[in-house]
Amino acid sequence: MAQVKSAAFKKASTRALHDQGIQHALNHVMNHFTEARASAIAADYSDESWDAMRTRAAAIKAHTIGNLDYYLDLADRSIRRNGGHVHFADDAADATRIVIDIAKRHDVKRAIKSKSMVSEEMGLNDALKRAGIDPVETDLGEYIIQLAGETPFHIIAPAMHKTREEVSDLFHDWLKSAPTSDIARLCSIAREALRKHFETAEMGITGANFVVAETGTVVIVTNEGNGRMVTSTPRVHVAICGMEKVLPAIEDLPVFLRLLPRSATGQRTTSYTSFISGPRGPSDEDGPEEFHLIFVDNGRLNLLKDEVLREALSCIRCGACLNHCPVYRKVGGHAYGWVYSGPIGAVVTGPMTGMKQAADLPFASTLCGACRDVCPVKIDLPKLLLHLRHRLAEGTGSGERAGTWMERLYIRRWHDAVKTRAALDRSTRLGRLLQKPLVRRGKVRSLPLPVISGWTKDRDFPALAPKSFGEIWRDGLGPAREPE
């Protein structure tokens, strides 16, 4: 599995905040995404009709996930009836083994890939290389970060943090192309370089946006056309997806095909949507001879088991919650330390990879709710983040952190200090006395107490006012009283 570096969230996010390149890219791109989304929705929908569509999509997803065993079984039978092969992988290692076995059987030397987030979870490219197979990412953004040896910065814009100059340097180093600052030129350099791979690779690897259970159809949405290439030219096609990607019937697709492109890139539709239901037919002369679909668990059961977190499996990976998140918009994607970033990354990384190392992520949110408001499948992300915080604080579940004895002590003392009116008044008077040496211009600059001192590291604490509101009220600033 790809390495999880989420334990370093605080350090990595501080670094990102001081990285001018990253800040510039985020400032430049994030508004572009949010504006494009808003105008694409407004062009075709009223607030009510858009909302109704989200409700419908959320209901379809909740239904499917609530009966996931049934739909996975149905999808499996349909795809095999269509002549395909279906695999069930418990974890990243399992899925990787399956891919490599298929590759070995077909004597594959070169594999071309179109975007698949699950293959990022698996760290598939490195595993393929170790097995002597040369993997090439064909989505332009993924290709750029593959050359750079990095992980995606954003679910749908993996290389958004790279400037044209950096891309030009990468192409110069790897493809010996002449340096240029013309983006169209850079695209055509990539086109030429990847064409050769399209013509010669023996195996195509893709993700799946949706898998329709009834007809056994894998749906892949792309703009560049690389998804079509990867599923047309090689002898073998392997699609890899999370087990939650299944939908009951093709007539469930329209809402998702409307929600996804508008939420993701602000388009009415993407350039290409491919529907693949097995290997090529007897009269086709292109298309793969063999088709495989791998359903992957890799920690998703931990989400499914928790009745609150289950909702996160409805995610269609549109990236809208990232684009609207005040935290993501400042720290970017790499700080989150694994494959998924932003609010959805903060929710799924811990349960999928182990809560301990990702314990900071649920706290990387202001709980402003912007993510929930834009999510096309209405995932209540703030609720899920709070739920995870609760789990972490209560120490339920393995590897999770209960509060320290010190924290518990503070909470108990706090409880004593505020539990009755009289106690609150008493503690307020005491507080005014104790804060005296610390107050400068109405603010407490630092609280010299263990644990609590962290609170004032980056901000001031407002000092207790000389008079409370209750006291001001009693002293005659309240409404005029009836004369007695």
């Binding site: 430049h28 239904h63 609530g66 009966n67 996931l68 065993d69 049934y70 996975l72 079984d73 499996d76 009836r81 002549g83 092969h85 279906v86 069930f88 992988a89 418990d90 332009l140 750029i144 814009a157 290389a159 958004m160 044209r164 169209a184 850079l186 695209c187 055509s188 990539a190 086109r191 990847l194 013509e199 009834e214 007809t215 056309g225 047309s232 087990m243 009951p248 019937a249 093709i250 007539e251 469930d252 697709l253 329209p254 009415r268 539709t269 350039s271 290409y272 491919s274 529907f275 239901s277 290997p279 090529r280 037919g281 009269s283 086709d284 002369e285 292109d286 668990d297 059961l301 088991k305």
Partner: protein
């Protein structure tokens, strides 16, 4: 013969089931409206869809021209069927195309693209099965061509989409590998929206007792990317120039 069941399937599904708080498989199909619609209900639904398509034909054509233009198609027509071949040849000459490939949909029987192209000095190659050339040679032809032409199964007005269902030959690459592409759309192939398309498709699936086309593509404009600095660039892997010829 279907492939064997994966050895991990039963255990995998059992774990899913237990995570959902059940210990046994469901006895009945879950209650889901789209899945439950059996053949007679679907037939009725499709009758309604067809009636609507008939009534709204003119509007749908107009809407398709708008959405397709918005999606960066160059839209031609609607034109009479007799003129379509000349329009195609005109586009090809305008593109200075030398190597033209086409697929084998029915529309080519009504629109004689080949002779119109020949009159313009272009000799098209039909990328069909049954030719003596091997598969990789055909693949090479598609990659060398500078224009691909196909018919469509449907067009969808809602999204400016051509639905292409490659059946014979190397039809998958005809609309993908060359830098320019022409889609021929006949008026009776135009649907209003995605729901109509999927209702029709599901009926075909039900009627054929579980057979479904191997490969269907929605094409909604040129190949595009914004992966470098979020700057829109067209023609990265697929065609950068796409024409839609509407035939009345």
């Amino acid at each position: 013969m279907p492939a064997e069941e994966h050895p991990n399937k039963a255990a995998f599904l059992q774990r899913v089931r237990e995570a959902l708080g059940r210990s046994d498989p469901l006895l009945h199909m879950p209650d889901h409206p789209t899945l439950k619609a059996a053949l007679p209900r679907q037939e009725e639904k499709v009758r309604t869809v067809r009636a609507r398509i008939d009534v709204l034909r003119a509007q749908n054509l107009k809407k398709l021209a708008e959405t397709a233009t918005a999606a960066s198609w160059h839209v031609h027509g609607p034109i009479a069927v007799e003129e379509a071949a000349e329009v195609v040849a005109g586009i090809a000459s305008g593109l200075r195309a030398k190597h033209v490939v086409r697929s084998t949909e029915d529309v080519f029987r009504r629109v004689n693209v080949d002779s119109a192209l020949r009159r313009s000095g272009i000799s098209p190659t039909v990328l069909a099965a049954g030719r003596s050339r091997g598969r990789s040679a055909l693949k090479g032809l598609a990659f060398e061509a500078d224009l691909g032409i196909t018919g469509v199964s449907y067009a969808i007005a809602e999204t400016g989409t051509c639905v292409v269902t490659p059946r014979k030959g190397i039809a998958r690459l005809t609309s993908l590998a060359p830098p320019a592409y022409i889609a021929l759309v006949e008026a009776d192939q135009v649907l209003g929206n995605l729901d109509e398309y999927f209702a029709l498709t599901r009926l075909v699936y039900q009627k054929s007792r579980g057979r479904t086309p191997t490969y269907v593509n929605f094409i909604s404009g040129p190949s595009r990317t914004a992966d470098i600095e979020q700057t829109l660039t067209i023609g990265v892997h697929g065609p950068g120039v796409v024409h839609m010829v509407l035939i009345a």
